[in-house]
Symmetry: C2
Subunit: 538 residues, 2 copies
Amino acid sequence: MRRFAAERAKDLIRSQSLQRQNRRRYCLLSPLFPLSSRSQSRFLSSASAPDPPPAMGSPPVTLDTINPKVLKCEYAVRGEIVSIAQRLQQELKENPGSHPFDEILYCNIGNPQSLGQQPITFFREVLALCDHPSILDKSETQGLFSADAIERAWQILDQIPGRATGAYSHSQGIKGLRDAIAAGIEARDGFPADPNDIFLTDGASPAVHMMMQLLTRSESDGILCPIPQYPLYSASIALHGGTLVPYYLDEEAGWGLEMSELQKQLDSARSKGITVRALVVINPGNPTGQVLAEENQQQIVEFCKKEGLVLLADEVYQENIYVPDKQFHSFKKIAHSMGYGDNDISLVSFQSVSKGYYGECGKRGGYMEVTGFSADVREQIYKVASVNLCSNITGQILASLVMNPPKVGDESYESYREERDGILSSLARRAKILENAFNSLEGITCNRAEGAMYLFPRIDLPQKAIKAAEAVKTAPDAFYCRRLLDATGIVVVAGSGFGQVPGTWHFRCTILPQEDKIPAVVSRLTEFHKKFMDEFRD
Amino acid sequence: MRRFAAERAKDLIRSQSLQRQNRRRYCLLSPLFPLSSRSQSRFLSSASAPDPPPAMGSPPVTLDTINPKVLKCEYAVRGEIVSIAQRLQQELKENPGSHPFDEILYCNIGNPQSLGQQPITFFREVLALCDHPSILDKSETQGLFSADAIERAWQILDQIPGRATGAYSHSQGIKGLRDAIAAGIEARDGFPADPNDIFLTDGASPAVHMMMQLLTRSESDGILCPIPQYPLYSASIALHGGTLVPYYLDEEAGWGLEMSELQKQLDSARSKGITVRALVVINPGNPTGQVLAEENQQQIVEFCKKEGLVLLADEVYQENIYVPDKQFHSFKKIAHSMGYGDNDISLVSFQSVSKGYYGECGKRGGYMEVTGFSADVREQIYKVASVNLCSNITGQILASLVMNPPKVGDESYESYREERDGILSSLARRAKILENAFNSLEGITCNRAEGAMYLFPRIDLPQKAIKAAEAVKTAPDAFYCRRLLDATGIVVVAGSGFGQVPGTWHFRCTILPQEDKIPAVVSRLTEFHKKFMDEFRD
């Protein structure tokens, strides 16, 4: 049923979409282009000829009568393959031995704790104490919680009016927590940060939506996005009715961001009548794992300044760097070190508690730091934030904690450092092992994961496999991923969900399975791939 | 600066809006109507003539170049008066005695814990234990937490794959928690509930947005909303580009919902070319506090079925009933007791952890129960939910707790019952005292708060006051509210933020100040009102 409905939705989209979309159907299933003006005008013109009320007994809402932007939006990371994986998992539970594997390994999504990563103890101690402050002064609490966690909980509670962790906060988040986050940003960058520039959000996704909503007036507003991209961007642009303007990362140059490509795509979009509003940069990269060089970041800042673009900097993987020759620099730091300030560039930096070494995805905490916007535009952002009242306080507290972890000398510091370094060094090892494994396979090449949580290997698929995929109306990389799942229980996401250069095929695989499972992942992958190639080799 | 910007935004909106809007400017500042097609086409036509890139040094985003839907959206509950209140609070802190009151009393928003209401102990115990499960089997924990809270935490953790409260969940929320919520709904209604119909969300607001997004294709799609309404509805309809079709509640009949009015407004909207998609009913009412009679609810169900409308039932105040002659019935229960099922009516019920006796606003938990939609449309809702991955797990857990509180025989039951009943009976007393106080004032009439958390008194303002308000370009009720704030520190929201019959004036006042503060609220209100009337009496 799910599959049928998805197919129907796709058919509808296809029938509505532009020819240029067809040209790219296999290279990019994400919605990179707006609805055609023809289909749009169908709805606008209905003002004079409304739909008749549904006939008695027929449903008031059908696929034909929902918002076409919703229909058009795709989100591969939780797409069909995950539904299939969930079904297989259920089958394994009800009927052990029914598949050639005994568990599903979700490598489709950056969700570390779902694969066994443990939370940072200090963070959870503080959260528990803030949830139930009445135990703070009980004697048993001293035995259960570290002294600095107790102290931190008091500090946080003192910053919340009435110590009410169950109250709506200021729409941007609790002021004291924003102060702490601003202090964390200052410590990170060496440049001042203003707590009034911080908007706390339920993870980074709602923050991205908010900016897309603000910037998109119609399909002729465009947003420059990297290809491959994290599908939140294509999905939110589609939902808000704008146009995704793609720029391709250079796989041969380690997923480098070439300024000439940016300029070319900007000029091309403008020549087509698109008003390009912003540039999305994901650093460290998702799904590509590259970390931008400082000089490259300077060029990007210069480009946005010159072209009058908002720089939307997805910096949620700022803690996830795995190679000694690369370092994370925030775009704000780069811009400031170039001597630029609020009058020179409009910059939004997104951060999340879901990533880093902490991986607290389920807490839905995050923030955006909004700089270089006029007071009246900022007020509009504030208003949109207000309509949802505020983000969740647990997530707000956690965001303040990840930006201000224990410091040298604090009781928890040593154990905190051990937990953090243990996770990060293990992630670096896992990234390397998986990268090597991919590169050892016939027809697969894989850039290194310098950061983030993913590898994005390229598969040179045999023509016979491509034909087999076409025969079942599936993109070739999705065909490969489905076969992989059926054979091994490993869930990865096809490159077509992220976008890729036409005619190339990839998949995204997280580096998150726990270290003791990595050998099995590698051997299952290897065995599958060999069989696949044997079956389809031209 | 805030004020200036807000004024500028309003000027822009005014210049873009329809004449019919002007006609109602004072009766309804919320955006009840879509942008004119003229202003809309300005943006659509830009496809062939895009905005030139901003000149070097000019900001890439200005009020003139943001999404006009954002500009148009208003949200009175957190509007200008709250900004002023926050400024006054800051002034009081820095300079005690600088105003004729010593604290700000926020009666603008249903935020109980911000005014001193304490959280329900059992709920917070469970949350703390789920946040930091490693203390669950420590001996000190027995001394700090009740046995059934410990047991419940174990139960919940066992329902979460890997006991990972820090992992993204299923996009609809953790299955085991949805099972618990469905069981709670069944116990409440006496009819079956399906966990697959539950979508857990970060409070009710994102759920409402999701449905508006699904249903709105263009400005010719309309949503029937009560007037007065909670401004989330007008704001989300504005943000998604639809048309709010107002129906007026009958103040003389205790804010009754008259079927003839519904039919009249539906027919009128259809005759103007609007495709009406859904009917919003808020029960218990916000800002009006009425509780619908069972028979009235049956008529509404029949109406939606007959007219092919989705019924969007805002039932977040289902626990807040203060009068013995009224009872809450969910619309789902009503429909089922009429013999209707999924094929007869498309129904969405919104619930939140922010309201009830628990008032856990800051936790941002809630759900919508979606019934009577086809599988393919449901899949589209699932997809939109997926783009934001999942709602926060703490809120999810709390939603399962409020729908399954301790039961007779549980260790915590007695203390839980005491806390719950204490809060609810106190709210009932406060509602009555405030209602009586309002009704004792010259020119004020106030319906009783049968439920919810608000009173919405009507003020018969003297002509002289209306003229004074016009002289400062303020709606007369907003003028009154501003004067009240300046004189007493009490923050209430003008009726013009919720909508009201043209020529009538109201304000919304929560019943949430703690009981020991109510006498002061009453005396300050009374004193202010007398002076105001003395100043402006015709």
